[in-house]
Structures are given as structure tokens and as C-alpha cells.
Symmetry: C2
Subunit: 195 residues, 2 copies
Amino acid sequence: MTQLDDTALDLIFRQARTHNYWLDKGVPDALLRRAYDLARMGPTSANCQPMRVVFVRSKEAKAKFAPALSQGNLAKTMAAPATAIFGMDLEFYEALPRMFHDPEARSWFAGKPKVIETTAFRNATLQAAYFILAARSLGLDCGPMSGFDNAKVDSAFFAGTSIKSNFICNIGYGDPARLHPRNPRLDFDAACRIE
Amino acid sequence: MTQLDDTALDLIFRQARTHNYWLDKGVPDALLRRAYDLARMGPTSANCQPMRVVFVRSKEAKAKFAPALSQGNLAKTMAAPATAIFGMDLEFYEALPRMFHDPEARSWFAGKPKVIETTAFRNATLQAAYFILAARSLGLDCGPMSGFDNAKVDSAFFAGTSIKSNFICNIGYGDPARLHPRNPRLDFDAACRIE
């Protein structure tokens, strides 16, 4: 295969939508694992892979999560089959001796907080985007959100670790009958130029 | 279609690789436009779409670009059919009255530099990831890099604007004979947990 066909491009890009309402259809753990196993193959700088994910599923985890959510994101998140908390490990460089072919790679980051923060944020965000498209590739729908209290999520889910939350994403099978009309997108010439 | 098949998943995730050497095969402008037209459909917070892209193609643009590149990224970038400079517009919120259904959206950002910066960086990075996977969907190969001088790129390509560079990405048809062995990836249980 050298290109995706139109139905595949529709599935992951053109027809895919951000969902707020979920069908009563479960998402098996195995499918979340498959989505991660695809997403992890995407490129990161020096293969640094800073993304860490908590999938919120149980009643207990949802109860810890709820106080961190904005009012507009609460009901749909409590109703979602799963919610990914996409985080970033600010000590990602400790894995580089095992993850990257250049043994010097750890020293490019260790002790350099500004480089660490920028690298973690950029690359964990790339990985979260790969995850969203991987989930769609497997037939799942996503509802990504940044309307929540990062500090509350960090203390509820990442206390005592070097992990900080980035953004969150509901995962399930969306109800196509309850979609908003699609908002417009910037044309190529409004966002890009060729020099 | 409800899922991508294995050959499609191989093309964009499992077999796709970061390339450093390019076949002598041109990339038409129309293909860069098609990749953007797919990538722009991906979700961003409040549909904010902060990504801006310069595709460096001409001898003149490459000459402006070269002094900003790290030594290790110079030759492969000069040889690439195109290089995307993925940037972010820190005045992205000026487009929200046209781009988002809630007329209040501009006020969530205007005058709030920290929110602007975080939102622009996160969402422009998501969009760049969508672009990488969109390019692969169309049969292109990518070589993303963050080894360059952002300030030099900003002054060469974005002077007098509200756009800042994020990272860069060579685009073309990679030479499969000159790939490094693939570096490993973190297992699900090393990067994720289900609660």
C-alpha cells in the first residue's frame, strides 16, 4: 500500500468528529492497549517518548477525577466509557540510555529544566495526537479537552511522581445523532505558504 | 469503513520511519496542499488552529534556512524535496470569531499571554502531528527535527509577525536502504495505566 484510500482518510480525518455524547457500547481494555501500541510508533525527538497516560474507567477513578473538571466537561466525561489523562514525564530522559542509540542522549536534557519542559510538552503532545488518530483508526471516537484543573489532576493521579498532566480526552463510540455542526477550518493559504 | 486494515496501519504507524536520506523524486505542491487539507480537519481546543507552516522549497529559501540548522540536520535538510517549518501564531484568537460557534471564545485568550502561549504550543503541536500522519497517509515520508535555532528561523521567516517556530520536518520519499535500525518503544505498562 502506498496511500490510504478515501474511506480510510474519511475515517481518521475528514469525517471524524469530536464527540460529546456516547453510545452505550463498551471499550475493552484491549482496544486501549492496541491504540497505544500504534501511537507509540510515531516519531519523537531522540525517541524520548515522554507521554504517560492514565485511562480513567472505574467509578473510584471517576470520583477522583470529577472535582478537576470544568462544568462544561463534567457530564460528558463522567458518561464516557474511558477518559485518557495525557501526561508528560519530566524525567523522560532517564529512559534514553535504553531508548536511543546515542549514549550521550541523556546528557542533552539532564539538569536543563527549560529544555526538559519544552521537549516533554512538545513530544508528549505529538504522542497524544498520534493516540487520537490511532484510536480513530480502530473505530473509536475521541473528545479531547483542555478545560480542567491541571494541578488537581496532578495531585489526584500523579502525586509524588515527575509526571504532569497535559490534556484529557474522552474515548468511546460517539452518538452521530448528537453532533454539533462542524466548525470551519483555515484554508491552506490562510495558514501556509510555499517559499 | 469502521477500522483501518493492517496495511493501512503499517503505512502510517507500524512500518513508517523517520527518514534522513531522500530518493530523487519530487513532491508536487499539490501534495503538500492535500496533506494540509487532511491535517486541518483534526481537533484543536476551541477550533483554535494556531499552526502556521512555511514549506521551504526554493534555493533562495534554503539559503535563508541553512544558518539556523544544527550541523547534524544540515545536509539532509538541504537535500530534502521540502521542509515544513511548523510554527504557531500567538494571535490565533483573532480568527476565533469566524472559526468557533461561541462568540465569547476570543475573550478566553486575548490579553492572557500564558494561556495564549500554552494553547498555541499545545495545539500547533497537535496539528503538526496530524500533518505528519496525513503526509504518511498520502505516501510521503517525514523526518521531523527540533535541532535548529528557533530565533534565527523566526527572524528569517516570521519577522514582524506574531508567528513563532515550533519544530521542522523534512518531507519527501525516503530511501529505505539507508534507514537506521528502529529504536525501541515503551511498552503499554511502562507508559500507561488503567484505573
